[in-house]
Amino acid sequence: MRRLNWPAVLVILLALIADLSIVADFGQPWRPLLVFAFLVIGPGLPLVRLLRLSQPGAVLTLAVVLSLALDTAVAEGLVMTRLWSAGAALAILIIVAVAGAGADLLASSRRESRGLLQ
């Protein structure tokens, strides 16, 4: 039986719920909690997991580092190019997170397949 790649699934869920919290306006404290949680961990975690580092502490640390760096880069890029929109910034970050999670799911699936074949 295949193992579920929980971190990738959680990031996708977090991205969707964060987006939903804005669309449906969950209000405080849920909306900021969900959005901040996504922004702090979501964009970076799947990309860091692609590196296949074995120490969970390092993965978590780099996930937060990369997430905040991507958040800053995307927000700053939109401001500097005078295309600022919080919705657009969040949409870009959600795309990055979901694409990263998809790649992570694919990579883990391939690894498992190779493992099963061997």
């Binding site: 900021p32 901040f36 074995s54 927000a75 401001v79 295309l83």
Partner: protein, 668 residues
């Protein structure tokens, strides 16, 4: 016996127990740190014995290792929570927040300190519990103002909210902005503020004021990760790793953790150094073939090898990574370098110096990183931030090399009695952690552990004192950027090697040093709270001011220290009557004839309206720094109130807003 039982619970890859004192040592970042082959064989032999010695008594000890600190932390948390409830923040005096903290607060700190000392030397304590002690320390020290204050702390945090507010309204920054020249740098390095705008709008807030107060708690918590990465990269003894973090948070009194770009820049700085040390570390090899006169790298390597000889270390250096992993990690570093260069003026130079020190000392394999960072920084300054750099080039050049001006420290003669104690506590704390760092480095060296990377990183920020005064703050910033590495060296004083025992004496020394550092930290970090704390009444007055004043108004503060600039800031001109540009004779005129002196400023016809705001926090700052004699601002306020030339448009117990009596009612 207990030790072996513990060993049996851990795989030899995940955790190892040192032979002599049963101290748990942990592997490198990727969990594949390599000890000697003999060591591995010994481990395996002991594993075979381990299962036979797993007695119930050992199980009880393992449970106790969780229960005792768990109970201590629970009690500490309860004591701290109860302490927060009874705070009378209006009574804060010149000694800072400590002047109003109840005994329960100190009980909480004592409990967490004692518990940490006990837990750290207990080989059965799980690492997550040590982490929890660090989190509690952060919560108690750095989280107290965040959670106890009902308003945003520190006047500069309000100004930073103003930049976020600007981006929210305009959707851009204006690098050439002339409103409030002090803040123009933020338009040239806008990354943090853009992130602030994203958090504000995506979070559904009207203003960053609604969450900015939690910034110190957030930044200190997230800093744990990179700090752990730094310590873990080169140190395998987990006691030293955790004590390094503990010392860092006991000595980080500089207060750059508030809602500010430097707090985010610092986090990224730590991450860059952590990743570089963990995955790109190297050390000079014995046999180096110098390829020619210009083979600088080989010469450098040979030089360091000749100087230091074959190095021993308690860790496996440079955790091996696959080419793909190294590529990914290098991409992360390059992204971080770019982000750092675009969010803060000073941090990029600290990154260049730190990476440069590692490269010169032949401690990293990626020795072109400092050059890359220098190119990125120069590019940003020349193309994206030229509006600021070009406009300030004269004083930047003039301050270069002016050691006498750049390294100034506060003149104690100009401070109030309480502030003298605070300043001395800060200096004492700085000196203590510095001495501990030097002593730790020497002791580790004598034990054969050569922390060359940390030594170089600890002194790397020092050249900045030749470059710039950074508005008189450069010495503080140098300390700030050296601290993570000094803390590791300081921790080495108590744990010079994994083979060094964690005796009761070590525990006592740890607790004693922690108490000394804490005493300094509480005075130094909380020492300016009389002026950093704003009462709700002051905030209400400030909101009234900005809701009332029409665009193109002049806002005059008796001092800069009040909640200001947080909304529509570019619509106003802000000046102060006691700022740095004010001469001594102007101050004397203000004191001797306040009505005339203030009216001269207020009656400028080029403004739509003029407002004077006087608050409790402004008075506190003026008294604490002896800008004017105690009580002078009250006298100025009384003189203006009694004058026919002024009328009060708003007043509460902590703030007064006045306009010229001749000023017509102006609608906003």
């Amino acid at each position: 016996m207990v030790c072996r039982a513990q060993e049996a619970q851990s795989s030899t890859v995940i955790a190892r127990i040192d032979d002599e004192n049963c101290q748990k040592v942990e592997p490198g970042i990727l969990g594949n740190a390599r000890g000697s082959r003999e060591e591995d064989q010994q481990m395996n032999t002991r594993d075979l014995h381990a299962e036979r010695t797993w007695w119930p008594a050992a199980r009880v000890a393992a449970v106790g290792a969780i229960l005792v600190p768990g109970l201590a932390l629970t009690l500490a948390g309860a004591a701290w929570a109860s302490a927060l409830l009874g705070l009378d923040l209006r009574q804060i005096n010149d000694y800072g927040l400590v002047s109003v903290l109840p005994p329960a607060y100190f009980v909480a700190l004592a409990l967490v300190t004692l518990s940490f000392g006990w837990a750290l030397n207990n080989r059965l304590t799980p690492s997550w519990l040590l982490l929890l002690h660090i989190v509690f320390l952060i919560l108690f020290v750095y989280g107290t103002p965040s959670l106890a204050y009902d308003t945003l702390r520190y006047s500069w945090a309000w100004k930073h909210v103003g930049i976020v507010d600007y981006i929210q309204r305009w959707g851009m920054v204006d690098p050439s902005i002339t409103s409030l020249a002090d803040l123009s740098a933020y338009h040239n390095w806008p990354g943090f503020f853009a992130l602030g705008a994203l958090l504000t709008q995506a979070g559904g807030f009207a203003s960053a004021l609604q969450f900015a107060g939690l910034a110190p708690l957030f930044f200190n918590i997230v800093d744990i990760g990179p700090l752990w990465l730094i310590a873990s990269a080169l140190v395998r003894d987990r006691r030293l790793r955790w004590l390094a973090l503990w010392f860092f948070f006991l000595a980080n009194w500089i207060g750059q953790d508030y809602f500010a770009p430097q707090a985010l820049g610092y986090f990224f700085f730590l991450a860059v150094i952590g990743v570089t040390l963990a995955w790109f570390s190297t050390r000079p090899r014995a046999a180096v073939k110098v390829g020619g006169r210009w083979d600088v790298q080989a010469r450098l390597e040979a030089f360091w090898y000749r100087l230091l000889g074959p190095e021993r270390s308690d860790t496996a250096l440079a955790v091996k990574a696959s080419p793909g992993q190294r590529l990914g990690l290098m991409a992360l570093i390059v992204l971080l370098l770019g982000v750092v260069a675009s969010i803060h003026q000073l941090t990029p130079f600290m990154v260049i110096l730190a990476l440069g020190a590692l490269a010169v000392a032949y401690r990293i394999s990626a020795r072109t990183l400092p050059v890359l960072m220098a190119v990125i920084t120069a590019t940003w300054m020349l193309y994206m931030a030229w509006a600021f750099v070009g406009g300030n080039l004269t004083w930047i050049i003039h301050s270069f090399g002016r050691l006498d001006r750049n390294s100034t420290v506060t003149d104690l003669a100009h401070l109030s009695q309480g502030q003298v104690v605070v300043a001395l506590a800060a200096r004492g704390l700085t000196l203590l952690i510095g001495v501990l760092g030097i002593a730790g480095a020497v002791r580790r060296w004598r034990w054969g552990q050569r922390d060359v990377s940390f030594m170089f990183l600890a002194v790397a920020p020092l050249p900045m004192v030749f470059a710039n005064s950074y508005s008189g703050e450069i010495t503080f910033r140098i300390y700030f950027f050296a601290l993570p590495f000094v803390a590791v060296l300081a921790a080495g004083l108590l744990y010079p090697s994994p083979a060094a025992s964690g005796s009761r004496r070590v525990t006592l020394a740890l607790v004693g040093l922690s108490v000394l550092l804490l005493a300094g930290l509480l005075l130094a970090y909380y020492g300016r709270e009389r002026m950093n704390y704003f009462t709700p009444e002051e905030v209400t007055a400030a909101r009234y001011l900005y809701n009332t004043a029409p665009p193109k108004s002049l806002v005059v503060g008796i001092d800069y220290d009040y909640p200001s600039v947080f909304t529509n800031y570019e619509q106003y001109t802000h000046v102060t009557l006691t700022g740095q540009s004010i001469t001594k004779s102007q101050l004397e005129r203000l004191r001797d004839d306040p009505v005339t002196a203030v009216t001269r400023v207020m009656s400028d016809p080029t403004y739509a309206a003029t407002y004077l705001i006087i608050t409790r926090s402004q008075k506190a700052h003026i008294e604490m720094d002896s800008i004017l004699p105690a009580g002078t601002v009250d006298q100025i306020e009384q003189a203006l109130l009694q004058s026919d030339e002024y009328k009060v448009i708003y007043q509460n117990q902590d703030a007064t807003i006045m306009t010229l009596a001749s000023q017509r009612e102006v609608a906003r």
